[in-house]
Amino acid sequence: MFGKGLLKGLGITLGHVFEKDITVQYPEERPFLQDRYRGCLAFDFPKCIVCGLCIKTCPNNVLSFETAKEEGSKKKKLLSYTIDLQYCLFCNLCVEVCPTNTLYFNKDFELTKFNRDDIKIVYNRPAEMDSVVRGREGDGHEEKTDNPETEAEAKRLKQVEAMKTVLAKNPQKSLAKIFESEEDIAIMANLMSSDDKKLNKMAELMVEDKEKAAKLAQAWVNKDKKDRPKEGGEQE
């Protein structure tokens, strides 16, 4: 019969009206992602054996690292690992080649960043991996405080010291201006108590430039927040 196809098409669209919609209401509902979904390329710092296979295999020079010779041995140690995600084509070659499964794709697909510099993901050597480095840096800082060049510098350093004690003792009050939510303050306080470097930097910036301090602190907290669910995902 002529026009049979037209009626069939009309039937299909009419049927669709009463079918369930397949839309995922994205920001509220999260899409279901398959196990092998390639989201953000992530790096598990302690697992890395610094073989450099990932860097050799990458077709776009996305990956790079900084290494140093470990004292008294031939072994290299990793100082920082950089994933320049803007050039990544998610080809999976680095993940396949990695012998220790250090590199992996997580399910984070929201990779948009406001600033271009934020696209680069830099993994710095966690402080707890070697306490030696931390100790040395702390010493250096103290030396500086011992030899102030001018009176203004001395005054500034005094202020920094004062800020440090305030930050360490009563983070809730001192950070209230920077953060809006108490949760963030708690995270920040945690970060500072576990890492002297961060505490120093924060105290310095609080004295010099409040805005910069706020930005940096927010960045730290965000990073910490971002890292946490990742760790949770791994344990599952």
Partner: protein, 345 residues
């Protein structure tokens, strides 16, 4: 309920007369009020229609359609309209400014003029013309000129191509449109739309003239530049056809006029084939609204089901299939009328 609107009009006229205004002037004021009401209803109705179209198209494609602004996204079109109202009105430097600027106005005027003869309820026709159907077809075909104006005034080859297509399409589909209505005119014995509605109190014309209904529906879709026949604004080929250069409110006027035409054609379809305002229990003006909306839903259903057909297929379909079919329908109808008259009905 039935006479609610008529009573309001009656009270208004008697009030005006009691104020010492001559009856003629009172009638004139009432006429202006009626037109204002029609324009208001059309404008607000378009807001609903665009929302409905987007919802229906969404459902047909397993999507949700607009759902963010207000319950079921019903304020979406209001936001869109506000956006269009506040947009910059761009007129291309080499456009034929007068034609470019007046085209959307003429288009909307022509679209609104169609409502003069449509019976919107029992005794609720703005102008109860005795050649109402003829008036509808002749005024409806004027919109061709407006689209051509828009295409020519834009001074853009794609706009002009779209306009030429629309002229070719609308002129060739006018003929089956008129022919398909002739059968009804022959049965009802009148061109007056109120009489045609009255003639359907026993049997709707869709049952007596099913072929005419189908040909009318196809021709009307082509006349509206909608659905599978949206050649003049074929997005993939001509961006937006004659509307390419239009922005902001001028573009919105075209959109408004298109939907106004859709309502008019649907209202005519329900008047001619579906018994118009005839219906049990509910007031007559609610019946025509229900029927018009049902016809419009079918128009939307067609639009979101069928892919656009090719220009040459479109023309050959009109000239080689629709016109012969509607002509045969007229002959059969005439024969039937003669036969039944001969039988003494």
């Amino acid at each position: 309920m039935e006479n609610l609107i008529l009573n309001i009009a009656h009270i208004l006229t008697s009030w005006l007369v009691s104020l010492g205004i001559p009856a003629l002037w009172a009638d004139l004021i009432l006429l202006i009020l009626q037109w204002t009401c029609i324009v208001m209803i059309i404008t607000l109705n378009v807001l609903v229609l665009i929302w409905l179209e987007r919802k229906v198209s969404g459902f047909m494609q397993l999507r949700l359609g607009p759902n963010r602004l207000g319950p079921f996204g019903c304020f979406q079109t209001i936001a869109d309209t506000l956006k269009l109202l506040t947009k910059e009105d761009i007129i291309p430097a080499k456009a034929d400014k007068l034609i470019f600027m007046t085209a959307p106005m003429f288009f909307i005027i022509v679209a609104v003029l169609l409502y003069a003869v449509i019976p919107m309820g029992k005794d609720m026709t703005v102008v109860d013309l005795n050649v109402g159907l003829f008036y509808f077809i002749s005024v409806g075909s004027l919109s061709t000129i407006c689209i051509l104006m828009a295409g020519w005034g834009s001074n853009n080859k794609w706009s002009l191509l779209g306009a030429m297509r629309s002229v070719a399409q609308m002129v060739s589909y006018e003929i089956p449109l008129a022919f398909s209505l002739l059968g009804i005119v022959m049965i009802a014995g009148s061109l007056n739309l109120s009489d045609i509605v009255a003639a359907q109190h026993k049997l709707w014309f869709i049952i007596m003239q099913p072929v005419a209904f189908v040909t009318y529906f196809i021709a009307a879709t082509a006349e509206l530049n909608r659905g599978p026949f949206d050649m003049p604004e074929a997005e993939q080929e001509l961006t937006a056809g004659a509307y390419t250069e239009y922005t902001g409110m001028r573009w919105a006027l075209f959109f408004l006029a298109e939907y106004t035409n859709l309502v008019a054609v649907s209202a005519l379809a329900s008047t001619l084939f579906l018994g118009g305002w005839l219906g049990p229990w509910l007031p007559s003006w609610i019946w025509i609204i229900i029927k018009t909306y049902l016809v419009m839903l079918v128009f939307m259903w067609l639009k979101w089901t069928f892919p656009r057909i090719r220009m040459d297929h479109l023309m050959s379909f009109s000239w080689k299939i629709l016109i012969p079919v509607s002509l045969v329908n007229i002959i059969i109808t005439g024969g039937g009328i003669l036969f039944f008259k001969g039988m003494g009905w």
